[in-house]
Amino acid sequence: MGYGYSLDSHFRKDIEMYGIADLDNCYVSCERVFRPDLKGVPVVVLSNNDGCVVARSNEAKAMGIKEGTPYFQLEQQFPGHKIAVFSSNYELYGELTGRVVSIIRQETPAYFRYSIDECFMYLDGIELDHLQKWGENLHKRVKREVGMPISIGLAPTKTLAKIASKLAKKYEVYKHCCMIDNDYKREKALEWCPIEDVWGIGRRYAAKLQSLGVKTALDFAKHHKDWVRLTFNNINIVRTWQELNGEDAVPNEELAKKKSICTSRSFNGMIPDIEGLRTHVSNYAARCAEKLRQQNTVASIVGVFLNTNAFREDLAQYWNFQERPLITPSSSTITIIQTANDVLQSIYRPGHQYKKAGVIVMGIGPDSPIQQDLFDINAEQFQKMRRLDEVVDRINRMHGSETIVLGSQQYTKKDGKGKADVFANAIKHDFKSKNPTTRWADIIKLH
């Protein structure tokens, strides 16, 4: 038993429980939705430009394929093996994972999407006795409706929930949902979990802890709080220690800072019309773009959410979140504003009084050489471009991808000589799957 906190004393009926839903081998699972024949087969997904392996199926992991293996080495390292190889297709991954999040939204009192493949859930109001079954059903629903497997971890702290989800993923006996709800289970889980796999313990701290003889999460949790404080003098490490001991310590706001950038505000009053909302959303989007540029990164997914005032029970309630992938990952103000406004347009429903809106950018990666010029905002130009884009997008949607491209969207060819006609030819993605959920030309063919 650790110092200070006993989980059992925390487990009253009114205790707050957290959940995390992890999409198993996310990109590979997305590819398998439209390729049921790839069940049980080694599958890998490559990075942009088909450089190296970024996602692996369990079978590929079992073969010994490592994350980051350069594509050209796969054949040398694994001669004679059949490996299904895909170029990354963020358009598909963004759409399908958005469906999963949408189901989670319907099933949970509140949630926070932490990254493309992880979603925290606040399970206040679901009875403790029903939670295990609830989690198993959530997995079943996502598997059946979207075709993707998820692993669910349930615990009184986010850090413990994360460990529970790893157990759920690893051992079939949990039926995709593992709940840590007493001290016995907690200690068993912590004993199983190597210190470097604990959420919030970076590589550097893990190395230091190991050098001090801390091998597992349990070793760490059993140290005295003062030891942790004196050894590291770091509030986040102390919080992790508290969470491993069952005390809810990582503030929910901290989540937003990590793998996504979110700008949102509650309005001073309520806004019923889309014009009013558009101004706010544009500003939030511009702020996200600015943050991306400050850290020299680009985002590949832009999401927008919209809330009515939950405290005004006398008014009709509406809540929605949607996201859209960017064809080119970007940090450009104009692109992010445009995309955010497109999403706003599709989630906006008239007849409600809105209280809060926000823009979230995800799929954040380092700025790549393919970036377009960043041009400063000019309202008039923006309006014109938006109208033009609407026409272009409509034609592209109806007649297949990139039927029309703008001059500014012309890219240098892969070999560096001359202009490529479409973006698709500018980056190398020889093994890209189709987009049956975002392009009419790509929907499945039924024989």
Binding site: P36, D37, R99, V100, S102, I103, R144, E145, V146, G147, R265, F267, N268, G269, I271, P272, D273, E275, G276, R278, T279, H280, S282, N283, A286, R287, E290, G351, Q353, I377, N378, A379, E380, F382, Q383, M398, P436, T437, W440, I443, I444, K445, L446, H447
Partner: protein, 159 residues
Amino acid sequence: MRNFVPNFRNVYEIMGNIKIIRGVFDTKLELEHAGIAAGFPSPADDYRHETLDFNRDYIRHPEASFYGDVEGDSMRDAGLLDGDRVIIDRAVEPHHGSIVVAWWDGGFTMKFLDLTHRKDGYIELRPANPDYPVFKVDDPNNFEIWGTVIHLIRTFEKI
């Protein structure tokens, strides 16, 4: 208050707490979009009802809905023709007689689901055209019922 219409002043007030990142841009967007300021109360307001919406009313499970194009005439006698578009709902449990989309023999196929022989260890996928064979499925490998067809869309004029 239901049809609260913004005018420049109260939009400006709402903006009061928000850091405007680029003032010029912000102002111009307002001018472009806030042209509905002076509104008469319409006598039809009390009778307002939301417009019929196919997405809202026909796609009951948006997260589980996918689309497919029919190729060939294996379902001709059921009225599903080459070039038709269908809506597939994976949330709908298929039953005996459902039109299903299945993964079979390396591709997607659309057929009637026949569960007559389930107890005998196999199911059948039946075409609606005597020129096509009935598929007998007794091996779950490389076979999956992928979804249930719930609607058909056929377009007669160019869109």
